[in-house]
Symmetry: C2
Subunit: 180 residues, 2 copies
DNA sequence: TGTTATCTACCTATCGATAGATAGACAACA
DNA sequence: TGTTGTCTATCTATCGATAGGTAGATAACA
């Protein structure tokens, strides 16, 4: 992995653990094994780095989810897949969703980072809405509402699990969105 | 209002807007009209201040919710009251829930602040569970699950509304927990 | 020989925290 | 009634550490 990729990955890990105001160029440089000036070479400002990290995260996350309208996979399975992705983040990795963290801090983010964070939520909600729309008993408006609800619940569930230091809090919180 | 009270109130406002790492003794001092050393007089460390703010917030919030088991008020009305409290925070005040913000940042909080944040969630979940348990079609285990789900959803809904800059995102997200 | 990437060395600004001083309120006591 | 001591709340000034960021030299490499 190149230093550039290492910087992005390290930044993602740190933001997900400690937030945008909780990491520094020096810390990233130490982990990667370079000097902070070298991090500034790749990302002139902290906002540049944050925006790239958020965009890469969004891309990676959506790629893992796959096509929400592929007929071979039932909507219920897809929702379960979505929850599993978040479960892995908080239970296995013990970290927040990157954009859940950034979303909480949105008022102190540089514009370009706030924009990418918004895009993450828009794309995730669109994905979820497409899945819910495939369910027999759900209309278009209902699907969008469910998508917002599910998105909010998984983000909140990650906060709960970390604060209560109880991975099972995540399971309890998301149970209702899993059982359509 | 005494300087002490002003400090606590200002700190709450700043944490809810910008997070625990997003405010400083100097900023609070400037708003209140004293020097930062005077804030340290009342709260020797940042953790001391954060813990007092979190505890006061929890107390205030639960007081506003009232008794979850008073028979004159239906469970449905109580859940609506809960949502209304959060709606006021995010739509009118345009701020996060204090403990939603602190919960996201829990990994960088001093122990005493993390503890108070945890207490907030425990008490809120207990309150919600008592309300849900009064509903005809809900058992004890189901009530607890619903409480976790509702707690997670409102916190996530506040993040969504702020990040998407759309107050209506809050409404869409919490709709399902309102309609039992 | 350029280009890309990294380095050393530094900047200014701010952080949380502390030391030491002071003005005024209040109480104890000769 | 004065005097003495203590407490509260604030001040000025400063600490070491760290923040984000930059200029210019140097190294690696196509």
């Amino acid at each position: 992995m190149s230093k550039l990729e290492e910087i992005i990955e390290t930044a993602e890990t740190m933001i997900r653990e400690r937030g945008y105001n909780g990491f520094s160029f020096r810390e990233i440089a130490d982990v990667v094994g370079v000097k902070s000036a070298s991090v500034h070479y790749h990302f002139p400002t902290k906002g540049d780095l944050g925006a790239v990290v958020a965009r890469a995260y969004t891309e990676k996350f959506l790629l893992a989810l796959g096509d929400p309208e592929v007929e071979k996979v039932t909507p219920k399975k897809l929702i379960e897949r979505y929850i599993e992705a978040c479960r892995y983040a908080v239970v296995t990795q013990r970290k927040m969703c990157l954009c859940g963290m950034l979303g909480a801090e949105v008022a102190v983010l540089p514009d370009e980072v706030a924009r990418e964070t918004k895009v993450f939520f828009e794309k995730n909600i669109a994905w979820l809405a497409k899945v819910y729309a495939r369910m027999a008993n759900v209309g278009a408006a209902g699907a969008l509402g469910r998508a917002y609800g599910a998105m909010a619940t998984v983000e909140g569930a990650m906060i709960l699990a970390r604060t209560l230091k109880d991975p099972d809090a995540f399971e309890k919180a998301v149970k209702q969105i899993a059982t359509s």
